[in-house]
Symmetry: D2
Subunit: 243 residues, 4 copies
C-alpha cells in the first residue's frame, strides 16, 4: 500500500475540503472522509487519475461508531505509513433562526457537528500524529473555524455555540499537544467561500468570495511551519469583506 | 400567591447561587433550581424565615423534561407576577484530564451542562422576561462564565468547550433580545470562589478568593441598569489573581 | 478643609464626567479637572450649592507640567484626606479621516490625549491611592474606553491607536497594582452618549443613547467592589446598539 | 536600476528583518531601513554578493524628516518599478519597569517607535502600494506585533501601549485599504526569537525559540495570498511556549 506519509481530511465536498485534499496530495497520499460518497467521489477520482493517491471513506465524524469503523479501514491501508496531517473541515450544524423557534435538537446539532465531530476526529488522529516518524514537517492538526467562532450573532446561537466550542477544543489541544511536537491550528474563514452552491449568490465585487484553493494554500503553509514557529490562528477573508 | 415580581436562579449551592438568591430576594420573591434539594434547602429556609419569599424546585436544567416540569410549577406559583430576572449559574461539566483519557461522554457533558442547560433555561425564561410588565428595571438574563469561557487550557477541553458555547449563546441572545428590551449579560468569574468546599484550598494571600456576596452585588448592579446603558460582559477576579 | 475622602475626575464636560462627579460626591469631596473651566464650572457650582464639595482645577492632563501644577493644588487642598477614587475620562484625540489625509500631528494627538493623558493621570494618582487609608472601599482607578478601544475601524486609526494604548495601560496597571490593593478598571463605552451635543443626532429608537448617569452608576459599582472581587472590564451600550 | 518589483523592510537587524529581506529578495529587489548601517550592512552585502539586489538606507522611521529623506532616495532608485511589499518590523520602545519608575519619555517612546514609526512607514508606502501595477501578488503591508500587542502585563505598559496602538493602526488600515486591493496584515510574534543576542538566554527546550527564517516564510506566505483570501492576523510561537 502507500509508502509515503498520508493526510486525512474530514469534511470534503466541492469546496475547501476538496482543495485541501488536492493540495496535500502533492506530498502525501490522502484519505478523505464525508458522510456521503457523492461528496468525495469526484475529487478522489480526480486525484487518483492524475497520479496522486486518494482514498474516500464514508463516515459521520459526529458518530463515534462511524469514526471507529473509518479509522479501522485507515489503519489497514496505512499500517506502516506515518500520518503527517489531519484536517477537520466538517460542515453541518448550521441553522439560522430566531432563538425561540430553535429546537433543542437544532441547537445541540451545532455542538454535535462541530464539537463532538472534532472531538472524535482529534481522538482518532492525535495518537497517529504523535507516533509519526520520518516526517519532513511536524505532524499537524488543523481545525476550520468561521466568523461564528468569535462572534455570536442574533439568530446564530446554534452554529456559534458549536464553533466557539470547536475553538475552545483547538486552543486546549494546541496547549497540550504543542509541547509534544504536534502542531495544532485553527483557521477562521470569515466570508462566503466560492463554491458551486454559492456561485449565484449576489456579490457586487469581483473576487468577493474566498477561493478554496487559496484557503488550502494557507493550511499547507501552516503545516510546513517548523516547531520553532507554530502558527495557531489565522483569519482569512475576501479583501472587500466587512469585519 | 406572590404579588411582587420574581427572579429565578438556576444552579444554587452553598456559593454564588445562594448569594444571588439572597441578594435578589431583597426586591423579589425568588425561585431557586438545583438538581438536589439539599443544595437549596438551606438558603430557601433562611430566606423564608427572615421575611423573604423563596421557593426551591428540584430540576436538572440540562434535561428538557425536567425543566418543563419545573416551569409548570413556576407558572402555577407565579401566574400573575412578572419575571424580573433570571440567572443561569449551573455548574457541572467540569473535568480536568489529558485529552486522550477523556471519554466522549465526559467531553459532551461540558456542553450538556453549560450549553444545553443554558439553552433550556433561556428558552423557558425569555418568553416570561419578554412579557413582563410593571418592572422597576429591565428584565434581565445573566449567565455565569469562567476563566474557561475565554481560554482553552491544556486538559480543560470539555469544560472550556461548554463555557465557550455558553458565551456564544449569551452573545447571540444579547444581540437578539437586547433590542427587544431584555438585558442579557455574561459574567466571567476568573478565580476560586470562597465557599465551604474551597475553604481549605491553600491560598497564600488574605482575601485571595472571590466573595460570592460580592459576585451577587455585581449581578444585581447589572440587573438595575436601564436599557440606555446595558452592560454585556464583566470579568471578576481576586486582586491577587494572575491573568 | 475637606475631611472626608476625595475623588478626582479628569475630563469633565456636560456628560459622563459631570455625572461621575455628581455620583461620587455623594460619598466624597470631588476634584474635577478639565482644560477649560467652562467645562466644569456648572457642575462644580451645582454640587457645592447642593451641599456637596467640589473643586474645579483647570488642567491639560496630556501636559505633564499642567498636571504637576494641578496636583500641587490638590495636595494643598487634600493634604490630610485620602484619595478614594480617580477616574480618567478625558476626551480628545478624536479625528475621522482617510488615512492618507491624516497628519502626523493628528495621528499623534490620539495617543497624546488618551495615552500620555492617562499616563500622567496614573502617575499622579497611583501614589495617592496606594497610601490612602481608612477607606470604605478599595482605592480605585478607572479608565474610560470606547468602541475604538477594541476595534480599529477604517478612518479611525488615530483615535483607535490612542484608545488601544489606553487599554494596554489599564491592563498593565491592573496587573501591577491589583496585587497592591488598588482596583484598576477599564469601561468600554460602546455607543453615543446622551449629552447636549448629541441631542439632535438622529436616533430612530427611544432611549437609543447611553445615559451618563447610568454610566456613573456603573463606575460607582466598580468602585465599591471588595478586593476579593475586582471587576476589570465592562462594556456598556444602548439596548439597540449594533455590535 | 532595478526592473523587477521591490520590497521595503523597515527594522533590519540580525534577526527577523534580515530573514525577511533574504526571503523577499528571491523575487524582488529589496530596500532595507535601519537607523544604524551596521544593522543592515551585513545582510545587504550578503544579498548583493549572492546575486540578489539589496539597498540599505539609514533612517529612523519614528522621525518623519528622516523617513522623507529615505523615501526620496527610494524614489530615485525605484522610479519605474512597482512596490510589491512593505514590512514594518521596527523594534524600539521596549522598557520593563515598575510603572512609578517609568518616565514620560520612556512611556512615550513605546508609541513613538511603534505607533509613529508605523504611521510614517504606512504613509510613505501605501501610496506606492496602491499605484503598483503588474505585480504577481497583491501589494502587501505587514506589521510585526508581539505578545504585548494583545496583553498589557505588569511593568510593560510602555511597550504594550506602543504595540496595542500599532495593532489598532493595522486593523484600521486593513479595513480601509483591503477594499482598495492592498493586503494589510499583522503578525503576533509570541516568544523569544533565536538571534545572536538571545543565543545564551536559557531555554530548557531544544528549538524553544522562534526561527527568524520561519517567521519570514510566514510573511512571504501572507504576501502571496490572492485578494479573495487575505489573512489579517497570525500568531506565531515556539511549540513549548506557554500562552
Amino acid at each position: 500500500m502507500a509508502t509515503k506519509p498520508f493526510a486525512i481530511v474530514a469534511g470534503v465536498g466541492p469546496g475547501t475540503g476538496a482543495s485541501i485534499a488536492r493540495k496535500f496530495t502533492q506530498a502525501y497520499s490522502v484519505v478523505v472522509l464525508a458522510r456521503n460518497p457523492s461528496n468525495y467521489n469526484s475529487v478522489v477520482n480526480e486525484i487518483n487519475s492524475s497520479g496522486g493517491q486518494a482514498l474516500g471513506i464514508s463516515a459521520d465524524v459526529s458518530d463515534s461508531a462511524s469514526v471507529k469503523t473509518a479509522f479501522e479501514k485507515i489503519a489497514q491501508q496505512h499500517k506502516d505509513t506515518p500520518l503527517a496531517a489531519a484536517v477537520f473541515n466538517s460542515g453541518g450544524g448550521f441553522v439560522r433562526k430566531p432563538f425561540l423557534e430553535l429546537t433543542e435538537e437544532e441547537f445541540a446539532n451545532g455542538f454535535k457537528s462541530q464539537g463532538i465531530g472534532a472531538f472524535n476526529f482529534a481522538k482518532s488522529t492525535l495518537p497517529l500524529l504523535q507516533k509519526a516518524t520520518g516526517l519532513q514537517y511536524p505532524p499537524t492538526l488543523i481545525f476550520t473555524g468561521a466568523t461564528a467562532s468569535v462572534k455570536g450573532s442574533a439568530n446564530f446561537s446554534a452554529f456559534a455555540s458549536g464553533k466557539f466550542a470547536l475553538r475552545a477544543l483547538a486552543q486546549s489541544l494546541a496547549r497540550e499537544f504543542g509541547p509534544k511536537g504536534v502542531h495544532v491550528s485553527h483557521v477562521i474563514i470569515d466570508g462566503v467561500i466560492d463554491i458551486p452552491r454559492t456561485k449565484e449568490w449576489a456579490n457586487e465585487h469581483p473576487d468577493g468570495k474566498l477561493d478554496p484553493d487559496a484557503i488550502a494554500d494557507a493550511y499547507w503553509h501552516l503545516h510546513t511551519q517548523p516547531r520553532t514557529t507554530f502558527g495557531f490562528e489565522l483569519d482569512l477573508r475576501p479583501y472587500v469583506e466587512k469585519w
